[in-house]
Symmetry: C2
Subunit: 219 residues, 2 copies
DNA sequence: CAAAAATAATAGTATAACTATCATGATTGA
DNA sequence: TCAATCATGATAGTTATACTATTATTTTTG
């Protein structure tokens, strides 16, 4: 399996991870977007929070849409890495697939946190805001320059296991992209519209649902 | 037979369906949002397109967010009505459920269109923009005043059939809300990120996928 | 230590998202 | 039928956002 982990350079003007202030932008940006929502989030507010200026942030990111895309991409980098860990040295494809579903739809194991100071905040941001990053008129341009390569490669890799285990199942990519998107959606529902789901923040059943669907599909 | 499809009164200041210019707002609004995307859509542009003024639109809608919520609610009213038609005079629960899945995840039958001049445009808008309406900081306030009652009642009704057919399945609401959301998501993918799905605009397989999942869950 | 690069401080522009006011044309109801 | 009411149009104004531009100052690096 080969999942390419690469920061897409089209998302920034200057790599924020190359400087202290850039990293502060990212980390404080995550918290600020989570606190305010992406609509009310502005570079001006972010600049104030990191004791810097709008102009400095604009030297790193063309606009706030790209800032959001960057953060989401960062999330997917972490997931891609976790997928590699979760499938390394495992022979059985069924077992590999199950581990992938855990990574893609489960809650991150607190013991394994630590790629960035607060990975759970980043996941929260993805749950809350990733739909807004995707559903824009610019999605085709972004796809053109490779922004979604990582996401596509993850879906491709995991759906390949499904194909291997049940070659007659006609919708492997749809199944995997569905389970990934559903995980975020159901966690949003569990907080804001609980009657639409059977998962709660206290007893999260999203992964169990996902594993069950996989099992049924492979039967 | 005349059916009044009524949208939640908290979404407007003055019922747009009570006047010609209000109806023009809605219909032209659908086209304009589809053409520009919700971010670039403004009341000023809408006013120009219907040869009216911003002030007039603001007399109907508090803001453009509520305008979007109104349109999405309108869509769900139509779906709710279709669900009633699709389950009327059918005894068999399995058959009822299957018909509901068709309404919720299939493409509308062109022969049955006609609630408004262009229902397909409204569906397109929902596919493209409904995530933005939901994922805001105001979702809890909106839920409080009943904006999502219709959506919740649809999920509740359909998931009740699932419960009846398989009382041991632990995630009926999650299953139905998943299939509903997935239908929009996959159709978005089929246009913009085709490698994430197995449906295409030419050969739409979203309903087939949904029916298959239901079948597997009930087995 | 000097040159270059990065950042801060500040100002400015265009547009969006409203709010306010007043005139005018259409509707209604006594 | 006429006056009162109401909806709409025309116009102006306010605040905030999403940038762009300029210059000064600090930091880094060769």
């Amino acid at each position: 399996m080969s999942i390419t982990i690469q920061v897409n350079a089209n998302l920034y003007l200057k790599d924020p991870r190359s400087s202290d202030i850039g990293i502060k932008m990212l980390l404080e940006g995550i918290d600020l977007i989570n606190a305010l929502g992406f609509e009310a989030f502005t570079f001006k507010k972010l600049a104030q929070n990191i004791h810097s200026t709008e102009a400095t942030i604009y030297r790193y990111f063309e606009n706030k849409h790209n800032f959001l895309l960057y953060l989401i991409n960062w999330y997917w980098e972490i997931i891609a890495y976790r997928l590699i860990l979760a499938t390394a040295n495992i022979e059985d494809t069924r077992h590999k697939l199950s581990n992938c579903i855990t990574v893609l739809t489960g809650l991150p194991d607190p013991a394994q946190l630590g790629f960035i100071p607060d990975e759970l905040s980043l996941k929260q941001l993805v749950i809350q805001e990733s739909g807004k990053a995707l559903h824009t008129k610019s999605v085709d341009d972004e796809n053109q320059v490779g922004i979604y390569l990582l996401y596509k490669s993850i879906v491709s890799t995991v759906s390949a296991y499904v194909k291997q285990l049940n070659p007659s199942f006609p919708y492997p990519e749809m199944l995997i992209s569905n389970l990934i998107e559903n995980a975020n959606q159901q966690r949003f529902f569990s907080v804001h519209l609980p009657r639409l789901t059977n998962s709660t923040p206290e007893k999260d059943t999203v992964e169990a649902f996902s594993q069950l669907i996989i099992q049924k599909v492979l039967e």
